[in-house]
Symmetry: C2
Subunit: 297 residues, 2 copies
DNA sequence: GATATGGATGAATACAGCTCATGGATAGCT
DNA sequence: AGCTATCCATGAGCTGTATTCATCCATATC
């Protein structure tokens, strides 16, 4: 009977965000009275209180919290749909919302984005790196349109495709004793300082695929945000790091770095790009995947 | 500038569904004129045609198709939110929307649902078995609240938990030569008729984990929809099937069936239930997971 | 050509939602 | 305690938007 309207979602969200009806009303370009009326009507029609009036403060009830979560989920999708429609209005434009879930993915992405932007001047590219529900969740929730990740998920209405195979190697500086070694064994890192990106150990390949199986931990573990600084540190002998071989080779002209194989077999990795199956026909998305595949080398 | 309203989504969807403005108008309890005005205004404000008028038929444009996909995605979520709020209004009721992705899951589910319904008289249970984007996608899209599946997905805002470990066995009838065998080798099925549920071979464990690794295919492969009929067929000697051991044992009193281990090691499987992390606190959902865990046996 | 069907349009109208004006409650301050 | 500022509630009245009504136009069908 009651139709939950967009305005209702907007109200719930604004009240939560600004803390009071008065403040929310201002943001929504309404009078406080209008909001009060609207809220009352909504609650009447639903038959649930969405807020409890504690003196002069509004505290959301359980139902209010629920409706808020719905609003936070759906409103962004509505605004994005509007934006997308406006892009249709301006000819075939688009926004490619890319999510990335691993640091080497970012370096790879940078290389692909440049030619993509050149080929698709009318498409904007947006990159997001933080997801409440993980990259896969962001794809499903339409927060992003394309995911770059080392962990694909098959058969679910998503399409994943490998775009890059690479070898994860140990990077050492010019003074380092391992410099000339053909490969490194886990034990040889027991007395080293290991520099990594600041993410959980169970998401770092050097741990999961190399150190932990051998039961080894490095002497010290230092997290660093950016690749550049990380490699500067390595070059100056402050520690060693694990990175893709191609990434190390790119820095080789600038910094004196050596890549050493991890174990006798080496640690190999893949990067994938995933899109929603429903988007598989969208030209500017498709094009990115194909461009990525060409960059496989 | 233009606010995309719920009514707009409803219009787009109704027009698609009923094929004409006139028919859609009737369904929406509006006059044809009202719809025509509304459509015109929407298109004006968006600056895009949503339909091309071909003589007297409306064909959606690309933008129209897009908006339709948005509508089909968001409208169900809105209506479900309304339903959920109405449930809040009636005290702590709820609807538990369960999705299942495997046939043995269904048999297991039946066993758990009965005590659950008894313990939560105010909660309705809904079971869905078909998902456009797979079970995981349905969870993310809020089509279901709980997924029963053999394939969990960790770290993405979803919580999976194993609820049942079981052994997948070969079921044979009372006349069958394998009846007394301690286990069966893949080659021994080369001259058999294999009865399975009607799903793709790469989702059938007996193929992926037993036959295909050995390069064997059964003489005949017969798909059957229901477990009961399947086991009737097996009991009457028309073929063999692969099912969970516990399921076979349940039918043992009624039908003369024998379970034979697949290979020397046996094929072991797990069933998991998954929920959205955001729902982990919802009492009636939590209760189901816990009830499921107790039924592990 | 006659008829049926479906969409468009302009003017009239009805009603939902807004504003205005005001009142009550409470927290914070002096 | 009193004073004041802040916030929400309420009713009456207004306004604008969405709807209807009446009508017209286009085209497919027979």
């Amino acid at each position: 009977m009651t139709q939950l309207e967009r305005s209702h979602l907007a109200i719930v969200r604004a009240v939560d965000q600004y803390g009071s009806l008065t403040a929310a009303a201002e943001r929504l370009n309404l009078t406080q009275s209008a909001l009060s009326h609207a809220v009352r009507k909504l609650e009447d029609q639903l038959g649930v209180a969405l807020w409890t009036r504690e003196s002069r403060r509004l505290r959301p009830t359980q139902a209010g919290e629920y409706l808020l979560s719905v609003a936070n989920r759906l409103l962004p999708q509505l605004t994005h749909a509007e934006a997308r429609l406006r892009q249709f209005a301006q000819g075939e434009r688009g926004t490619l919302r890319i999510g990335i879930e691993c640091h080497p993915c970012y370096a790879w992405l940078l290389k692909v984005v440049a030619p993509y932007l050149a080929a698709w001047p009318d498409v904007d590219v947006d990159v997001k790196q933080e997801f409440q529900f993980g990259g896969i969740g962001a794809l499903f929730a339409h927060e992003i349109d394309l995911l770059v990740t080392p962990d694909p998920l098959y058969e679910t209405g998503l399409r994943f495709e490998p775009v890059l195979d690479y070898e994860q190697v140990l990077v050492v500086g010019p003074q380092h004793p391992l410099r000339a070694a053909p490969f490194v064994q886990p034990e040889q890192l027991a007395r080293e300082t290991l520099i990594t990106y600041p993410i959980a150990i169970d998401r770092l390949d050097i741990y999961t695929q190399f150190l932990l199986p051998a039961g080894i931990r490095p002497k010290r573990h230092k997290p660093i945000e950016t690749t550049d600084i990380m490699l500067q540190m390595v070059a100056s002998g402050r520690g060693v790091a694990a990175l893709p071989r191609w990434l190390v080779e790119e820095y080789a002209p600038k910094l004196e770095l050596t890549a050493v194989r991890l174990g006798t077999q080496g640690v190999t990795k893949q990067i994938f790009v995933g899109i929603r199956a429903a988007d598989a026909q969208t030209a500017y998305l498709r094009a990115f995947v194909e461009l990525g595949r060409e960059h496989r080398n």
